[in-house]
Each structure stands twice: as structure tokens, then as C-alpha cells.
């Protein structure tokens, strides 16, 4: 009950602080219980400080900074209890190139740390270049989807040019 949630919190928080600093190349962050002393009643608040910046509320962070912070939390929960399958649907959309590279590096390390199989849906050419294989989804016939294998070298020609 309460003890178990509190222990899960500590484990997630430890991973969260590590992953945030990895994804941001610096800075600090942590999770805190708010609104109640009872973990079963409290809410979960995120405190994040990107490198070189003053701590501020999540709302003031940029779109990309918020996405990286949320990804740190999602992966922290994941590492606490790794799932056999992980699906990420266009999570790299708001990230700039440097952050996409760091996100892919993090996926590489997850792949080494766990037995998990990852499905990463993306429009981003950098992400496409850093996965082990690519599947393409097409609608050659309008309104009907088909799955094809895509050669990593064909990828740029294949994808997105509807």
C-alpha cells in the first residue's frame, strides 16, 4: 500500500534524476509529492532545471524541454519495472537535432540494459538512421494500409513523400 508506493517513488526518482541529466547533458531535476503528506493522496510534481538555467516551473520550459523532461519520467518508470515491449509514437516530434541524437543514444542504452523490444514511430531522419531495422507503412491503395520492410538506405526516399 503506502510503503510500496513510497518505495516505487524513490526508485523512479533516482532513475528520473539520472535520465534527466543524461538527456539534457547537465542540469538537475526531481519528483516530489505535493498536496498531501500521504503518498496515497498526494500528487506528483516535477521540478526541473535545465543546464545553465535557474529552476522554474514546468510551464515556463520550452516545448522541447518539457518533452525531454516527460520522457525522462516515462523511462524512469520503465526502468523500475521493464516491460517486454515498448512503443514510442512520434515522441521525437518537438525535439531539435541535438536532442534527437541524445534521445536515440538513450534508446541504445535502454536496449543494452533490458531485454525489451522497441517500436519507434517517427518522421525524423536521425531517428530512422539509428534504429536496427525499419518497417514502412504505406497506402498504395487509398484507405488501405500495408506493411513493408524498408532498407535503411532507401529510408529517405521511401518515407514521407506521400
Amino acid at each position: 500500500g503506502r510503503a510500496r508506493l513510497s518505495e516505487a517513488f524513490d526508485r523512479v526518482n533516482a532513475y528520473f534524476r539520472e535520465l534527466f541529466t543524461t538527456l539534457f547533458g547537465g542540469g538537475t531535476a526531481e519528483l516530489r509529492f505535493v498536496e498531501s503528506d500521504d503518498p496515497l493522496e498526494a500528487g506528483l510534481e516535477i521540478f526541473a532545471r535545465p543546464p545553465g538555467k535557474k529552476p522554474s516551473t514546468m510551464t515556463l520550459l520550452s516545448g522541447g524541454e518539457q518533452a525531454l523532461t516527460a520522457l525522462s519520467l516515462i523511462f524512469a518508470v520503465f526502468l523500475t519495472n521493464p516491460a517486454p515491449i515498448c512503443v514510442l509514437d512520434e515522441v521525437d516530434a518537438p525535439l531539435d537535432d541535438a536532442n534527437v541524437e541524445r534521445f536515440c543514444t538513450l534508446l541504445d542504452s535502454m536496449r543494452k540494459r533490458t531485454e525489451t523490444r522497441f517500436l519507434v514511430i517517427t518522421h525524423n531522419p536521425i531517428t530512422m538512421s539509428r534504429v536496427d531495422r525499419l518497417y514502412g507503412v504505406t497506402m498504395a491503395e487509398r484507405g488501405v494500409s500495408q506493411l513493408v520492410s524498408v532498407d535503411l538506405r532507401q529510408a529517405e526516399a521511401f518515407t514521407d513523400r506521400a
Binding site: L88, D89, V120, I121
Partner: protein, 168 residues
């Protein structure tokens, strides 16, 4: 327990039978807007026992059945099969004697869904428990839907705590 294959027939825009082989490591899924990438991964959550049609972006569960397109008529049923390799024998008894587990969900228009494991009919609950035991399932925090990152950021602190409860 390893996920090895996902098959879809008549599920959303996948009118014909489609097979996705799930391999180790990182697999990318690419294609133009609206071609079916999110539909493909929704089939995974659906076969694991997702009970809410809203989580399928639909206004009724029948909407996951292929509804027709320019040339093709709509279908009356949709079926998704997930194949699991159980050679590490981590499945709950009484399923644990099988090397391979095939979980199938089939929906018939206006008749609801039927679940089977290795051909034998089971309840939705049995399928949900099977995956919960394996630290996965339709509500696994490792399944990040399109737009869910934005929801997590905008969420109230009490809503975010639900994520923690999935980890506990």
C-alpha cells in the same frame, strides 16, 4: 516471455491480413501522415485487452473494424493475434506448459469481442491478467501514444501519480 509476432486482419485501415515480426532491439516504423502507423500499434494495445474505445480514438468499439475505402467495402469483423514465445516459462499457470502462446481478439459488428488463448476462449480479464503479470498490458507506461507526452506535461499532479502506481 517475448513478443514475436503481431497479425492484423480488418483492424482499422489494415483491411487485408498484415503480419509484423517483432525482433530484438530498436525497430523504426515510418510512412506518410495517415498511412496507418498509429493504427498498427493500437492493434497491440487492443489485443492486450483495452476495454475503452476512447483509448482507440473511436466513438464506439465497432469503429476499429475496417469501414471501407474508395474501392473496398467495409468489413464486419476485425481480428488481431499476438504471438508470445514462452520458452522461458514465465507465463502464469495453467498457460505455462506451452512454448508458444497465441492471444487472439476478434470483434464482430454489434456483437462485441471474443478472446482466445491458443484457440481456447477466455475472458477479457484473463488476457489482461496474463499481460499484467508480464509487466505489460494495454495501460503499460511503456506504451506511449501519439500526443501522450503533451498530456503528461499538462496533467494535474494527482493524474501524474497514476503513472507511479503502474510502476509499483
Amino acid at each position: 516471455m517475448k513478443f514475436t509476432r503481431l497479425s492484423l486482419t480488418g483492424f482499422k485501415s489494415f483491411c487485408d491480413t498484415t503480419e509484423l515480426h517483432l525482433e530484438a532491439g530498436l525497430s523504426g516504423v515510418v510512412g506518410p501522415n495517415g498511412c496507418g502507423k498509429s493504427n498498427l500499434v493500437e492493434a497491440l494495445r487492443w489485443v492486450m485487452g483495452e476495454s475503452s474505445y476512447k483509448a482507440m480514438r473511436a466513438s464506439g468499439m465497432d469503429e476499429v473494424i475496417f469501414s471501407g475505402s474508395g474501392n473496398r467495402p467495409g468489413r464486419n469483423s476485425a481480428e488481431v493475434t499476438l504471438v508470445l514465445d514462452n520458452s522461458d516459462r514465465t507465463a502464469p499457470a495453467p498457460l505455462n506448459s506451452a512454448d508458444v502462446l497465441e492471444v487472439t481478439r476478434r470483434i464482430e459488428r454489434e456483437a462485441g469481442s471474443v478472446y482466445r488463448i491458443n484457440g481456447r476462449e477466455v475472458r477479457a480479464r484473463d488476457v489482461q491478467l496474463l499481460f499484467a503479470d508480464a509487466s505489460t498490458g494495454a495501460h503499460s507506461p511503456a506504451l506511449v501514444r501519439q500526443g501522450q507526452i503533451g498530456e503528461l506535461i499538462a496533467a494535474k499532479p494527482t493524474q501524474r501519480r497514476a503513472l507511479l502506481e503502474e510502476a509499483a
